[in-house]
C-alpha cells in the first residue's frame, strides 16, 4: 500500500526499476524514496526492533531511509534520484 500520494507533476517519463527483485516503476525526477513509497509503505526495518520505517526528515539528516543498491552501495533514498534499471533492495533490520 502506498504511503505517499502524488498530487501533481504526474506528467513525467516512467522509469522502470527493480524493488526487492520485483519489477517496479517510478517517474523521472523521483527520489528513490518517492519511487518506493508511492507503491509501498516502508523503506527499511529498524536496527534493533525490525519495525518498519519510511524515512522521516527527507533532507538527509535523520538517516532513516538507507536502502541498498544492486552494485552494493547503500544510499539515502531521500536524496538519491531514481535511475532507470536500478536495483533497490530494502533491508529488513533486526530484532534484538
Amino acid at each position: 500500500m502506498a504511503l505517499l500520494k502524488r498530487l501533481t507533476e504526474r506528467d513525467r517519463a516512467v522509469l522502470p526499476f527493480t524493488l526487492d527483485g520485483r519489477p517496479a516503476s517510478g517517474l523521472l525526477g523521483d527520489t528513490l524514496l518517492t519511487a518506493v513509497l508511492t507503491a509501498e509503505d516502508s523503506l527499511r526495518g529498524s536496527d534493533f526492533n525490525g519495525e518498519p520505517r519510511a524515512g522521516f526528515c527527507l533532507m538527509g539528516a535523520c538517516q532513516d531511509c538507507w536502502v541498498k543498491l544492486g552494485d552494493g552501495r547503500r544510499v539515502r533514498a531521500c536524496s538519491t534520484l531514481l535511475e532507470a534499471g536500478v536495483c533497490v533492495s530494502r533491508e529488513p533490520g533486526r530484532s534484538l
Binding site: D11, C57, G60, Q63
Partner: protein, 458 residues
C-alpha cells in the same frame, strides 16, 4: 578529478542556501572566486529547495508569497555557477585546521581554506511523540519537501502538529495543492499569539502572511486546535490516527499521515569541529556557535551566517550571508561599503526582534519532558526510550555526552540531530538541572555517514 588551483580555494562557503548564495555573490562582486560546497543537487537550501529538472510548477506554486525571493536566490546561483568553484552533491564530513574534508560521488578530497563562511542551515526541531517512528509520520520540513520537491503529499489525510510558523504554512500549502488536511494541532495557546503581537508587528508583512495562512485554513473548513498536547500517533505498521489532549478533553482523529515539529534547530556540527566557541542561547534554547554582530565566529577566518548559528529564517539568512562576506572582505583588506554593512546589521536586529515575538507566539512546550512517557522512543536510530534516559540519570549521570555514552541516546547514524533536543530536555527534567547546564552533544566526524571503500585524492 583535477583539483582547481589552491589559491582559488582560499575562500570557501559551506551551504548553498540563501546565506551561502548571497555570501558567494558578495565575494564574487569584490573579485574573489569562492569555492561553494553544498550537499544538495541544485542548491537553494531547504526553504528555497528547487524541484528536480523536468518538473513544471511555477515558482508561485512552489513558494507562494516567497516566490520572488526564491527566484532571485536561484537566479543568483545560476549566474554565479560558472564564475565560482561550485560543488554540488558534496558533503563536508570533517574539518581540521584550515582544511575541510569532503565526499563527492564516493570520493574523498580535501579543501584547504584561509577564510570560511559556514552556512549549514537547520533541520526541524523534534519533540518526539509515541508512535513517531511509524511510516507516515514525517517532520514538517519533510512534508514540505515531499510536496515542493516531489509533488507528493505524505498521505491521503494529513494531520499537522507541533508549533512554529512552518506549521500553518505547510498545512496551507498542502490544502492549496489539493491534499486533505485533517487537522492542525498547535501546541501553543491562542493567548500566546495575542501576547506576541507587539513584537510581531515589527515585521507586518510576515505577520500578515502568518495570519493569512491560519485564516485561510479556517475559512476552508480545516479544523485548527490550539493549546494542544499531542498525546499519541496510533497505528500498527503505519499511521491510523492521532490522539491529543486539549484542556481536560482527550480527542481522537483518524488519519494516515502526521507531520510535526516544534520550529527548527541549527546544524552546528561543522562549527563545532572547527573549534568555534559555543554559548547558550535562551531564545533558541540551544548551545550555538557565537558570532559577533558582523558574523565573525570565535575562530579567526571562520564566519557564520544563516540558521546554522541560530534560527532567524530565510530573509535573515540572505542578509547574514551578505554581511558575513562583507565582514570577511573587510578583514582581509578589501574596500567594502561600510554603510551597507551597518544597514545589514540593522536589518538583522529588526528581524531578531521579530524572532523574539515568534518565540512568544509559539512558545517551547516546557512541560514536554515531564509529559513524555517512559515508553516513548526518543532516539529512533538506537531505539532508546525516555525511560532508558531517566534510568541513566537515576544512575547519577547528567551531562549529555555522558548520558549518550551510557545509554546510546544520540549515538546512532543521525548523531542526535533528531533526538538531541528531546534527550537534553529529559535529562534536565529528570535531573532537576537547568537545561543549559546539561550541555550539548559534541560534534564528531563524520558529520554524516562515510562509506567503506571510499577513494581519496591525496
Amino acid at each position: 578529478m583535477t583539483a582547481p588551483p589552491r589559491q582559488a580555494m582560499s575562500t570557501v562557503i559551506v551551504g548553498a542556501g540563501p546565506a551561502g548564495i548571497r555570501a558567494a555573490q558578495t565575494l564574487l562582486a569584490h573579485g574573489l572566486r569562492p569555492c561553494l560546497l553544498d550537499e544538495s543537487l541544485r542548491g537553494g537550501g531547504q526553504v528555497y529547495r528547487r524541484q528536480p529538472e523536468h518538473f513544471k510548477r511555477s515558482a508561485k506554486a512552489l513558494y507562494g508569497f516567497e516566490a520572488g525571493k526564491a527566484e532571485s536566490v536561484h537566479a543568483t546561483l545560476d549566474q554565479l555557477q560558472s564564475e565560482i568553484d561550485y560543488r554540488p552533491e558534496t558533503l563536508v564530513w570533517n574539518a581540521e585546521t584550515r582544511t575541510l574534508d569532503t565526499l563527492h560521488n564516493g570520493r574523498a578530497a580535501q579543501v584547504p581554506f584561509k577564510h570560511l563562511i559556514v552556512a549549514t542551515g537547520a533541520t526541524d526541531r523534534i519533540l518526539p511523540v509515541p508512535g513517531w517512528t511509524l511510516p507516515g509520520v514525517y517532520s514538517l520540513g519533510a512534508a514540505q519537501i515531499a510536496l515542493k520537491f516531489q509533488g507528493c503529499a505524505i498521505g491521503e489525510r494529513v494531520v499537522f502538529a507541533g508549533s512554529g510558523p512552518l506549521l500553518y504554512l505547510v498545512a496551507y500549502q498542502y490544502a492549496k495543492a489539493g491534499a486533505t488536511v485533517a487537522a492542525v494541532l498547535d501546541s501553543s495557546p491562542f493567548s500566546a499569539q495575542t501576547r506576541a503581537l507587539p513584537a510581531l508587528l515589527g515585521q507586518p508583512s510576515t505577520l500578515a502572511k502568518g495570519l493569512y495562512y491560519r485564516a485561510w485554513l479556517t475559512a476552508h473548513g480545516v479544523p485548527v486546535h490550539q493549546g494542544v498536547h499531542l498525546h499519541e500517533i496510533q497505528g500498527e505498521r503505519r499511521v491510523s490516527g492521532v490522539s491529543w489532549q486539549q484542556g481536560q478533553q482527550r480527542k481522537n482523529l483518524a488519519c494516515d499521515a502526521v507531520a510535526f515539529a516544534h520550529a527548527l534547530r541549527s546544524e552546528t556540527q561543522l562549527a563545532d569541529l572547527l573549534g568555534c566557541e559555543f554559548a547558550w542561547s535562551a531564545l533558541n534554547r540551544a548551545w550555538l556557535p557565537t558570532r559577533d554582530a558582523a558574523g565573525r565566529s570565535s575562530v579567526e577566518g571562520v564566519y557564520l551566517a544563516g540558521d546554522g548559528a541560530g534560527i532567524m529564517g530565510a530573509d535573515a539568512a540572505e542578509v547574514a550571508g551578505e554581511l558575513a562576506a562583507l565582514t570577511l572582505l573587510g578583514d582581509i583588506g578589501y574596500r567594502i561599503d561600510r554603510a551597507r554593512s551597518i544597514e545589514l546589521q540593522r536589518q538583522l536586529e529588526a528581524i531578531q526582534r521579530f524572532r523574539q515575538g515568534l518565540e512568544t507566539a509559539f512558545p517551547f512546550p516546557e512541560d514536554w519532558a515531564a509529559k513524555a512517557p517512559d515508553s516513548l522512543t526518543v532516539c529512533r536510530c538506537e531505539e532508546v526510550s525516555a525511560g532508558d534516559i531517566r534510568q541513566t540519570v537515576a544512575d547519577g549521570h547528567w551531562e549529555i555526552n555522558r548520558v549518550k555514552a551510557m545509554c546510546r541516546v544520540g549515538m546512532g547514524r543521525c548523531q542526535g540531530r533528531m533526538c538531541g533536543v528531546a534527550a537534553t530536555e529529559i535529562v534536565a527534567q529528570a535531573s532537576g538541572r537547568d537545561i543549559a547546564s546539561v550541555g550539548r552533544l559534541r560534534g564528531q566526524a563524520p558529520i554524516k555517514p562515510l562509506p567503506f571503500g571510499v577513494e581519496a585524492d591525496q
